[in-house]
Amino acid sequence: MGTTVEIYLYAADSQQARTLFDAAFEEIERIDATLSTYRPASEISRINARAGTEPVTTDPEVFQLINSALSYSRSTDGAFDITVGSLREAWGFFRGVGQYPTKAELDRAKENAGWQYVALDSAARTIQFLRPGLELDLGAIGKGYALDRAAVVLSASGVERALLGAGQSSYLALGAPPGKTGWEVRVALPDNLPLGVTEQQERVLSKVLLHDASLSTSGSSEKFFELEGRRYSHIIDPRTGRPADGMVQVTVVASTAAESDALSTSAFVLGEDHGATWLRERPGVTALLVVGTLERARIDTVNWSQLVESTDDAKSADKRP
């Protein structure tokens, strides 16, 4: 997964905590071994290797996850897309460095992308690529899904209070700490600390008390690169083939981590004009958006006030020119 997973939980003693951690991480490892595009033996790698030439049958879990990712693609008219690996490659994201692709490189990468070229047959549980160069990458939803599954394992083991985090950008809360109404998660101001549960008080945009819910943040300040004085996010806009712009940071609270992951990425790509509107159409979702550019940012919210006790920092952020 290329990310750090952290788990906080309450247990009777350290041995019980250890077996619970082992069980949760074993499940996360199972999901990673199934979904990782970096592992040649993963199920996604098997699908990527074969679905360009024939329909590939997969198990119900993987099929359902791909199906759900494609439903986000439909609902966002392609702003969310699990087939943009070729574009991420063209922009050098896999190597952790940015590069500006030539027009020919970009055109070629675009030919090998497009969610509408993934054909599913739910009766036979098959996946077929209608363009042979296509590749699936479930990174934008898989990290959250791994947290969801780990939480299922913990719940089944009797755990009622836990906080699971991935890469300091997704948090999933089971219950709340004793005597509290939720797990406190702080949304950092962009261009500063990533989202985290540290004691760091400075530059916190908002505090959330998370209870049986998940929070995900997509931002351009955590992962970005600069070329010729311009900053590009690591999130591709599949519709243009270029790094998404018009949004600085999107934080979404939803019922599952797979959903909050997908929603925050979708809204980030939908951008200044459509991100918040699209989120408002989705029941039960709350969101905190930093819209525009770092130089000219404004705050927009979707039902966020129910959760947020606005801090002084957030107010000052609001007043940024």
Partner: protein
């Protein structure tokens, strides 16, 4: 069953397994056309059972027709995979009696129940994919092989490394003589992990942590060692004829009965030696198999294989024609004195073949065996030649004796 009569009948079939065995036809009565559905019943819906169910469901035309487990939450977890409509049972005999259209059964129960569950399925005319180790005792192992023969069904043992492309390639190259004469195989499976599962309430301890109790489990020798014994058998083309070992509970004094570390030395009739070590208090070496030949070494892990060649020496047994072909020359290791070699080796390249990991390959191959009425590569004899050394290896450690297999089974 009489042990000797069993082995008399089986000994002719106990030959070194090789890839050539893959295509052997059995005389099973019914042949399923390739387009046909293959329906599985599952006995044992724990972590391994679920993992195998997912693998089988990646094959076109495979479905899971029924689930059986004695622990109810597992049935819900199983239905998460197969769908809410799948019939569930807490009694395997009822499942086998009532669900009429099954073709095969996946048995993934605690080791001490394997023989009962596998033989029941075979006796109802069903093919069996049985988790390793095949049987708990030598008698169990004999009875399972007898059950396969009596019913003329297909049996595949869950020793999936037999289906790993890099294992196949590596061992084919070992057999071709590329690292000279192979005398020793060393296998390590080390973890830093208490091997416990969380137990919701104390009464479920032995059910959920069955691996830790001798009534049900062969411990590390069975759960981890079986895979590596099988690889040594594959390399040597035979099974061991003696074992000695030691082990103990040295890391986790928590009421467990199976050892948290075992070391065993298996010797083979033609002179080979397999040294096995498993401990769960240190993770440094992880999982490794080292195949030592007079001309080189092959190292196998869970993800890849690497080849190292010995320095050019007169006694090197690398066949001359391989040296002439230049294979010998490139990655020859060189060291200072007796310092270990710390350089890179030559990665074992996997030839073009189907993608996917070994457990999926094993599942896909079993489905193909059923459809084509073809004996599985990892058949009941591969299982027998592994599970018997597991049982006798544990006996050697517990009795602190060197065990000659001939005292318990007829030497193959």
């Amino acid at each position: 069953m009489d042990r000797r009569s069993f082995l008399k009948t089986s000994s002719s079939a106990v030959v070194g397994s090789s890839l050539i065995g893959l295509g052997a036809q059995t005389s099973a009565a019914r042949t399923i056309a390739p387009s046909d559905q293959v329906r599985f019943g599952v006995i044992g819906v724990g972590s391994r059972g679920k993992a195998m169910m997912r693998r089988f469901l990646r094959e076109p035309g495979v479905s899971i027709g029924a689930l059986c487990d004695v622990y109810e939450p597992r049935l819900d977890e199983g239905r998460e995979i197969t769908g809410e409509a799948t019939p569930v049972y807490d009694d395997y005999a009822r499942m086998l009696d009532e669900v009429g259209d099954l073709d095969a059964v996946l048995v993934a129960t605690p080791l001490s129940f394997h023989a009962e569950h596998m033989i029941a399925a075979l006796d109802r005319g069903l093919h069996v994919y049985g988790e390793k180790a095949m049987g708990f005792t030598v008698d169990d192992c004999n009875a399972i092989v007898e059950g396969v023969r009596r019913n003329d069904r297909l049996f595949q043992i869950g020793q999936q490394w037999r289906y790993s492309p890099w294992y196949r390639e590596a061992i084919e190259r070992v057999h071709s003589g590329e690292i000279g004469q192979v005398s020793h195989v060393y296998g390590y499976w080390h973890r830093n992990y208490n091997w416990r599962r969380n137990v919701p309430e104390p009464s479920l301890e032995r059910l959920i942590n069955w691996r830790l109790y001798r009534e049900y489990s062969g411990g590390l020798m069975a759960e981890l060692g079986s895979h590596q014994i099988d690889i040594a058998n594959w390399v040597f083309g035979e099974m061991p004829d003696a074992v000695m070992g030691s082990g103990g509970i040295d890391f986790f004094h928590d009421g467990r009965e199976t050892f948290d570390n075992v070391q065993a030395i298996f010797t083979y009739p033609s002179g080979g030696t397999f040294v096995f070590s498993s401990l769960i208090g240190n993770h440094k070496v992880g999982y490794q198999i080292q195949i030592f030949g007079t001309g080189g070494t092959v190292e196998l892990t869970l993800a890849d294989g690497t080849l190292f060649f010995e320095p050019a020496r007169e006694r090197s047994a690398v066949p001359k024609e391989l040296i002439e072909r230049g294979i010998y020359t490139t990655p020859t290791l060189s060291t200072q004195g007796d310092m270990p070699y710390r350089g890179a080796g030559l990665p074992i390249e996997i030839p073009e073949g189907p993608a996917g990991e070994p457990t999926y390959q094993a599942a896909a191959s079993f489905v193909e065996s059923i459809r084509q009425d073809k004996r599985p590569f990892a058949d009941e004899l591969v299982g027998w030649r592994t599970a018997v050394p597991v049982a006798l290896g544990n006996r050697a450690i517990q009795s602190r004796d060197r065990i000659d297999f001939a005292d318990y089974v007829e030497a193959p």
